[in-house]
């Protein structure tokens, strides 16, 4: 028996040991089954509704704060609203997870392609959203300084410092998420390329 055969035979024995250990275990009890059955319709729908409600809330809350409380110009409020609407659209149509029909029918290769595409789209969104957020925050800061609003200048300085710190932290997190997602997506793509080239 050569080394390869020995390795594989050894692995087969180890697999048999694993199976025999598992067969002696209950593993699936009634509670687990009940929990799985109950999530059939609930989970995905609940997540979608929560997201939608949060987006609608943001779309109402942002103009209320920007327009009525901070007294910022209407054009800025409209641009902010459009940005939120676009973010919502992008999130729903491009970054949604893989649905169960796909998991039941698709081959592993197709699912992996989808995962890689999703990760790439997630990462690409940062290319747009981070610069946009910087411009958005800078514009808002400028407008707040030059517009009479309910917030006094003393409060404003505090808000600006806070905003600047938040921006730096946000940028650092964004950069980390971006590189991580790109790396993961590339690893999947590389393996798909390798596995399909034979």
């Amino acid at each position: 028996m050569n080394t390869n055969d020995f390795e594989l035979e050894n692995m087969r024995q180890q697999m048999a040991t694993l199976k025999s250990k598992l067969e002696q275990q209950e593993i699936i009890n009634d509670r687990l089954i009940r929990d799985s059955l109950n999530t059939k319709l609930g989970k995905v729908k609940r997540q979608k509704w929560t997201k939608l409600i949060l987006i609608l809330f943001a779309m109402l809350y942002v103009p209320a704060i920007l327009y009525w409380m901070l007294n910022l110009p209407a054009w800025f409020c409209i641009v902010s609203l459009l940005y939120f609407a676009f973010a919502a659209f992008y999130d729903f149509y491009y970054m949604n997870g893989i649905n169960n029909g796909d998991l039941s029918r698709e081959q592993m290769l197709d699912t992996s392609r989808r995962v890689a595409r999703m990760k790439k789209m997630n990462a690409r969104w940062l290319w747009f959203s981070i610069p946009f957020s910087i411009v958005w925050i800078a514009t808002m800061a400028y407008l707040m300084f030059t517009t009479d609003s309910l917030i006094t200048r003393a409060n404003l300085e505090g808000a600006l410092y806070g905003g600047a710190i938040g921006l730096i932290i946000g940028l650092a997190i964004g950069a980390y998420v971006y590189t991580r997602q790109q790396r993961q997506a590339q690893a999947i793509i590389d393996q798909i390329d390798e596995i399909t080239k034979d």
Binding site: M15, K21, S36, M108, S112
Partner: protein, 159 residues
């Protein structure tokens, strides 16, 4: 439970070790196995209605389990994972059998996800056509990959 739910419970109970094995080979700890296992059960249940019982159920279970393992976002842990009904811990127990199982886990974990799936299916005695059907490559390609995987495994044992 209605008839369909009972049939589902019976099916997953019959194939519990298959589901567990896939989850185990794609996890690094007990919590991750629990999470994955539950996610696979949910996905199996969601797809159970659409499953045509004429085709091979084991192949379908592998397909859903592997796709779930590949696509699940590990950052998002389930908030309410039900622990699996097991009185052994394959990540922590130290008896000889578990040590052997752990060696298998370590070897397979070192492989890339596709190779991990291929070798796992091969160890489960599926033929090249069936493996190809699940993974999405030709039977010939499966044999080429398996040859390379064997080389990798050999190198691992030499290290």
């Amino acid at each position: 439970m209605n008839t369909e739910e009972r049939l589902f419970a019976q099916t997953v109970t019959e194939h519990k070790s298959t589901i567990y094995t896939v989850c185990y080979m794609f996890s690094n700890d007990t919590d991750e196995v629990n999470d994955l296992f539950q996610e696979v059960l949910i996905n199996l249940w969601k797809g159970f209605e659409g499953f045509e019982h004429r085709s091979n159920i084991k192949t379908w279970i592998y397909r859903v389990a592997l796709n779930t393992c590949i696509s699940l976002d590990r950052k998002r842990r389930r908030s309410s994972t039900v622990p699996l009904a097991m009185d052994i811990n394959l990540f922590e127990d130290r008896d000889e059998d578990t040590r052997q199982v752990d060696m298998l886990h370590k070897r397979i974990s070192k492989l890339q996800p596709f190779d991990r799936a291929i070798v796992l299916l091969w160890l489960e005695d599926l033929n090249y056509d069936e493996i190809g059907q699940i993974v999405g490559i030709t039977a010939k390609n499966v044999s080429v990959r398996l040859f390379r995987i064997r080389e990798q495994l050999k190198n691992m044992s030499n290290d």
